[in-house]
Symmetry: C2
Subunit: 239 residues, 2 copies
């Protein structure tokens, strides 16, 4: 199954942009009348029929809209300090998108070695990972923000902060409800001040086990904990 | 904390090989009398004092042996078909080692596009990931073996096979006991015959949730499920 992406997928006829049209018409050689699947990036998959096979701007007739296509049962925000090595963070973006995440916030901590982050590449990775893992929801990759700025924002649902000091509970036990925000610090961890601010804000301190995990591995372990908790649930009823 | 690796770490004096000696003496500039930590790769960490700072073969006096250093409470064999893209499999080796795995078996399935795999690079990655994540146990990376050959071997403990067809239970519920073997197929999944053989052998069919995960992501989700199940346990008593 191949998914295409259309940004403004409103109305009964939608168009693919030049890149998606080229891939659909030139590369995959789809013709007028072929049925194709399109995601709007917001959670809806559209079954469409090609009305105009223009390789620069294909026109598609919408046959059916499938809301919540591949959208997880939870809402997860992963706020994580980008790693020194950019590949490691981009890998995390791909893997978190495959498992299911709503929003990835690149955090700049007081101890972050990386103080600048460009979100555009990560957005392209999230798009292709969403298509590849059959999800109509493309995670939002926000612009980078400092930990303290992020903590000014209201916390909805359960907030978790992974730190290496103080009393902490295991991540799986800490996950509560279906709206979750997870904070993952830089290689040097959050500063005690940042951690204290988060805890005062209502974030629960968690641990990710005895292993010393790299930043991106810790972040993915936390995303896995959420993903696995809900697949457990999901299938009790289905099987 | 920096860990060095010594293959034959017996007796009261051990030596580092040329590569480890160069790193310890030339790069990190350790001197006679300095205390350093060494892993034997089999689960024991040795606190040592440098007796001879030879940059080609440093001699270390063993002060203390710490068995089970960073060794997880479970025994996990991950038998996984290497991905077409070698980087993806090597990334999996690093991440699985960070979380904790005893043995990684590169499997060749009937539907594997990659029929040949060289394990040496993966072994170097496992060694550095074990050091980085403070584990004295370096996972064994076996030579590649076909799925059917692997299934000739006795299954100890719980065996799980991730497939895309048939009745399956969620991976977390399926994990039982502390000795686990997980089979992950190639991009094209196991053949029905391979899956039937595994199930006849006692492997439980599992699913890894609704997302279509890449091979290496599926494998890491399964490793995470084991890791997270045991960190949960571990910390109930500690916290």
């Amino acid at each position: 199954m191949e998914l295409f992406y259309a940004k403004e997928a409103h109305g009964s006829v939608i168009s693919l942009d030049q890149e998606e049209s080229g891939h659909c018409i030139k590369v995959l050689r789809h013709r007028v009348g072929d049925e194709v699947q399109v995601i709007d990036g917001l959670g809806t998959m559209l079954r469409c029929r090609i009305a105009d096979a223009n390789p620069r701007g294909a026109q598609l007739e919408v046959l059916e809209r499938v809301p919540g296509f591949g959208v997880p049962e939870y809402h997860l925000t992963l706020a994580c300090c980008p790693t020194k090595n950019n590949d490691r963070f981009e890998w995390l973006v791909e893997k978190a998108t495959e498992m299911g995440v709503d929003r990835i916030v690149p955090l700049i901590g007081e101890r972050s070695e990386r103080k600048v982050y460009k979100s555009d590449r990560a957005r392209r990775i999230a798009l292709s990972a969403a298509k590849q893992s059959l999800k109509a929801l493309i995670p939002e990759i926000t612009e980078p923000i400092t930990v303290k700025e992020f903590l000014q924002q209201p916390l909805n649902g359960t907030g978790l902060i992974a730190t290496c000091f103080g009393e902490r509970i295991g991540v799986s036990e800490a996950i509560d409800g279906d709206e979750i925000t997870i904070l993952i610090g830089p290689e040097g961890d959050f500063s005690p001040e940042e951690a204290a601010m988060a805890i005062a804000k209502g974030y629960k301190p968690i641990h990710l086990g005895p292993s010393r995990l790299r930043t991106e591995t810790a972040a993915l372990a936390a995303v896995s904990a959420v993903y696995l908790k809900f697949i457990g649930k999901a299938y009790v009823s289905e099987d």
